[in-house]
Point group: none
């Protein structure tokens, strides 16, 4: 068995993450990924079926990390749903912040592949979404959140808004402070833009 120095499987994912973030999925070249990963073209296909599978692994990897970080939170009963919500948003921002390339990929490419995500019912993205929806729904039930909030619509809205902000931040790090973004989002979502909630 030849040496498997440095875990090629992981190297490829890392390389692909950088390349996809830079060029976008469609303009990214497999040969470029192989170069960056310091691996032969053929090795890409030892570990992954094709280009799309590499993208999927990147996306799933991100959502799995986020899901794992968030999971234990939801079962706690010593904190309010508002606190849980806050915490979840923090996790989301933190994980994006730590993985700016993944953030870019998610903002740019995830939608295109959402459609065929029918077999993916075990997907960590879906699991994370569920977690979020449950926290909001419970908050509504417990009369902590406004009744006319639809948890399912809210999560689409939030995710869309945040990933757009994160994209802007990731493409443009110098100009935008992630903390400004985070506090703007959290404040707005919790209190609204109208002064005195009015």
């Amino acid at each position: 068995m030849r040496i498997k120095e440095g875990n090629k499987e992981e190297d490829i994912i890392k390389a692909a993450t950088r390349v996809f973030a830079d060029a976008g999925f469609h303009n990214a070249r497999m040969s470029r990924i192989a170069d960056v990963a310091e691996v032969s073209n053929g090795s890409l296909y030892v570990y992954y079926k094709n280009k799309e599978e590499i993208l999927m692994k990147i996306l799933e990897g991100f959502w799995k990390e986020l899901y794992d970080r968030t999971l234990e939170l939801t079962n706690r009963d010593d904190i309010t749903n508002a606190e849980k919500f806050d915490f979840m948003m923090d996790m989301l921002f933190d994980t994006f912040a730590e993985n700016p390339d993944s953030a870019i990929i998610i903002a740019n490419e995830q939608k295109h592949f959402q459609h065929r995500r029918q077999e993916n019912l075990t997907s960590y993205f879906d699991k994370f979404i569920d977690l979020g929806e449950r926290i909001v729904a419970e908050g509504v039930e417990k009369d902590m959140f406004n009744k006319n909030i639809d948890a399912s619509l809210l999560r689409i809205f939030l995710l869309g808004g945040i990933s757009e902000l994160i994209l802007e931040w990731a493409m443009n790090k110098s100009k935008i402070s992630l903390n400004d973004i985070r506090s703007t989002v959290k404040f707005t979502v919790k209190h609204g833009i109208l002064k005195n909630g009015k």
Copy 2:
């Protein structure tokens, strides 16, 4: 030779809108657009420089329509900024609702041209954005909106969230009511999710 009765230039845009919405920009075939437009392949290039230009025209067309609808509003001084904001959101939703294919394209592909758009002041997208930011900024100045709202971040957030919702709606019309979406968004953004805005 086909007599130019049906305005090819427009036919192409209409066809491309349908094709891009269906297949996504990268998977859309120029020949398919030509087919749908009932025009030859070559004619596409009589009216447009290339595939990307067609996409740009579609996007600009959408934003121009929206901008035109919204412009006069901003100069009025008989309504509050909160009312202006409300109105602007309504326009946005209405225009999306009337152009679901464009909505899909915007949600999926707007980024493509965001990148090369660098403060292009002739762009109707930028003009529309300016309008929105000004309404919010003024609202803050007039002490009607919360001070810690950053207008520029808010618009990215809002646009991202709304386009994600609209995409969901456009891909899935039967299941989601556009009015539910609209009222959820408006309420959340104005009042926040916390009961009593607290």
Copy 3:
């Protein structure tokens, strides 16, 4: 419309016939065919779906020519079935002789693609085969041919033997005389190798 000088569709078939005969289907390169046909790579795919379709057209073209040449013969009633048989063999040899490259291709490649020839029920190869079987079967009925001859087996045997001979001839023209081949085959099939048919 750009000039279509020299009928590219046909040029491609001619070039492919030469290239397939030289290198074999699997080792033949599409780019080589394009070169020989003095056509761009892309043009190959304007006229044919893929490499395999080009091969099929070559094979069908050959059998169509042979079938057309042989068809009228079968309906004549002024000649015996032995004469018809003779004539058919001559046509087969002549057509092979006039198309040595096709002969090589048929000998080398036809078998590989016979299997998926299920939809091809209108195939000229099958039609030609039918013609031959009918002549033999009738000969048997009319008591002109030996009763224990199975027409269906005979045609497989004959075609296999002849195409092998033709291949040898086509690969090796200087050494073997086509007329020797033809008379050997005809004599053997009609009279057998045993002297006095005994």
Copy 4:
């Protein structure tokens, strides 16, 4: 490490025979052969130089078996050449019948190595051919076979015809009786199709 109990060298040949027969030489995958042989990819190359050499060994193995079975016959002087010819045909059919996968490979792929075989006198195929040609040539000399029979052409014809029939039989065992094939071939070759050999 697998203990070398099952003779890998032979296992590989057996596996390759099945795989080549199923898929054809060009579509057969080395990794599939390794799978079927229950051997690693690398082991294939411990025993054989490359894919083609495996094919050659299969073909040679077949012809060697046939040659060995036929050799002693030719030196006998207590039987006529017609009987020898008959016997040789029987051996050919029997050996094909016992090795249907080899039969398929021979019918489909023998040409691959025919080309590079240039009077390779160590080849069992050539030795077998020589045997056959000698029997026929002697038969002609002894005035037992018709004078105008060219032994060399006859063997090409026979082998081509028979391998085609055998292929049909091997691919389609249920429908065709090998004995029918054999007697049709033997009768035709010896007596011809014309009644009374006339």
